[in-house]
């Protein structure tokens, strides 16, 4: 062991199948604290599955996952305690439709961290203010634009003060003109030192924000590296093909 702090996230030999369909076939990944890692790869390559495994929303078949040095895949680990430290934001927002914005954000701090309603709501409001959503605190999700809903979902995850934030294609469900406001939020978080693993189809965004880009193919991380090299001089043929298709589709 070295004296360096444990990586924020370490994945070793992760395997996951759905029935007969192997989706992840030996994923190894290290994410340092304050690092931003982008996962790219074709649709169905397992990006979402990988993120869901890290958040223990899927049971894994083999391998180990460590968060800040603690093995979260160990038997008998308290999954609720682990999930508190890992935030996840979904493509479809998944806000609670029967709760106001303020209730959405303050629910977990109140019920999980046992904060008083007053404290939880005050802190939620501060966060909402920071992300330009304070005037929406009393609204219900169906009264918000997609971009606003996704920003609320991000705030809801941040309210638990996670050590690690997982973002799963958080702009794919948004109209193009709403993408920028959400990506700006993520840039701000990256600048603030948040450790993030981001599955995305927005290559320009990945190039802009990622410290490292990982290309998922055939259930493995086929190639990884700094964004400049990955996008300008990919080593693997499969990576080249993938990027060529993306360029042809006008998304880089």
């Amino acid at each position: 062991m070295t004296a360096a702090p444990a990586p924020a996230l370490r994945i070793e030999g992760l395997h996951k199948s759905f029935g007969d369909l192997p989706v992840l076939r030996g994923i190894d990944l290290l994410v340092a604290e304050h690092e931003v890692v982008c996962l790219i790869g074709a649709s169905g390559s397992g990006k979402s599955t990988l993120l869901r495994c890290v958040n223990l929303l899927e049971e894994i078949d083999a391998g180990r996952i460590f968060v800040a040095g603690e093995e979260i895949t160990a038997p008998k680990v308290d999954v609720d305690r682990i999930r508190r430290r890992i935030g996840i934001v979904f493509q479809a927002f998944n806000l609670f439709p029967h709760m106001s914005v303020l209730e959405n954000v303050s629910l977990a701090p109140r019920k999980v961290l046992r904060r008083s309603r007053a404290d939880a709501e005050r802190e939620a409001l501060e966060l909402l203010e920071r992300f330009g959503l304070a005037d929406k605190q009393g609204e219900f999700p169906d009264r918000l634009s997609g971009g606003q809903q996704q920003r609320v979902a991000i705030v809801r995850a941040l309210a638990m003060q996670p050590d690690l934030l997982l973002l799963d294609e958080i702009t794919s469900a948004l109209d193009p003109e709403l993408v920028a406001e959400v990506l700006d939020v993520i840039r701000g978080l990256a600048a603030g030192g948040m450790t993030m693993v981001i599955a995305t189809h927005e290559m320009s965004f990945a190039r802009d924000i990622a410290g490292r880009v990982c290309f998922l193919d055939g259930g493995r991380i086929l190639e990884e590296g700094p964004p400049d090299r990955m996008f300008s001089a990919p080593l693997e043929e499969r990576t080249q093909q993938f990027l060529e298709r993306i360029i042809a589709a006008g998304r880089l």
């Binding site: 999930r83 935030g87 979904f90 609670f96 977990a108 995850a157 638990m160």
Partner: protein
């Protein structure tokens, strides 16, 4: 639009112009007046014919005497209504218990994982049993059977067992309604709650069940219309309620008119509730349609 004062232009004569909508509106009014008139006329003819057949039936006079005696009707109505008060009490108490027990059974049945298998099995067996048995049978077995055992401390009052029977019977149905509601909440809602660190129970309590309950209010009301009527079942074990009161009157007068009073009381109470339920369903459907736009 039209240039007023000038000669008519093409736009002035356009169907969509000034006169267009008003003309269409007037016509629609005329059409709806006509269809109302036709509906009314056909109703008069239909029910008139039906009435004529009934009144001219060979047994009509005997029927009128034993079912439609106004003196007996008005004489029995006050007691019948008084008896109905017992049904109202049964209904209100049972309804509260059913709402709680039904939800509990539904939640137990939707607990995932092998650990909860025995709980799920028990809950499922309960639901199957009480949905399969005819209500009359259950009320006899519980209302006469259990007090008949003579175990010390076990209540013997029919009213108590009436409540127990109605609660057990209807909770089985209502739990299925709740369960359908719980299953209709998309799993991503539970995933979002769990990912925030909420426990399985907290996710159910704060995220899944509140959404489920909102969705099942109309079908729940439908079940309560059924419950309202089924409160007469308890007359079988000697609870003096509306139906039993009518039976007593019938036996005393050798006349069936008191049952007409019972029917009328149920119509007056149940139809508004049924209409209200229909209105709720229609409103929800309109809302859902607006939501998917």
């Amino acid at each position: 639009m039209a240039t007023h004062g000038g000669p008519p232009t093409v736009t002035d004569l356009d169907v969509g112009g000034v006169d267009g909508p008003r003309f269409v509106g007037r016509r629609r009014q005329r059409v709806s007046w006509r269809s109302t008139a036709i509906a009314a006329a056909s109703a008069v003819v239909f029910f008139g014919a039906l009435g004529w057949i009934v009144v001219n039936a060979p047994g009509w006079d005997a029927f009128r005497e034993s079912f439609l005696d106004p003196r007996i009707f008005w004489g029995s109505l006050p007691d019948v209504i008084k008896g109905f008060w017992t049904n109202v009490r049964l209904f209100l108490i049972a309804e509260v218990l059913i709402l709680v027990l039904g939800l509990l059974v539904a939640v137990l049945r939707s607990l995932p994982g092998p650990v909860f298998f025995p709980v799920r099995l028990l809950a499922t067996a309960y639901v199957d049993l009480f949905r399969a048995l005819p209500g009359v049978l259950v009320i006899f077995m519980l209302g006469f059977g259990i007090p008949g055992l003579g175990i010390a401390g076990v209540p013997v009052e029919p009213f108590f067992w009436a409540i127990v029977t109605l609660t057990l019977l209807y909770s089985a149905y209502v739990s299925e309604v709740y369960r359908a509601g719980i299953e209709s909440v998309h799993p991503s809602q539970d995933a979002a709650a769990r990912s925030l660190g909420l426990s399985r129970f907290q996710s159910l309590r704060h995220v899944v069940v509140p959404q489920a309950v909102r969705r099942v209010i109309p079908p729940l009301l439908n079940d309560f219309i059924g419950l309202q009527k089924d409160t007469v079942l308890v007359s079988f074990i000697g609870v003096v309620e509306i139906f039993r009161t009518a039976q007593i009157k019938q036996a005393a007068t050798f006349n069936f008119t008191p049952y007409l009073a019972v029917a009328l009381v149920f119509l007056v109470v149940t139809i508004p509730l049924a209409r209200f339920t229909d209105w709720l369903v229609a409103r929800d459907r309109a809302k859902a349609a607006a939501g998917t736009r």
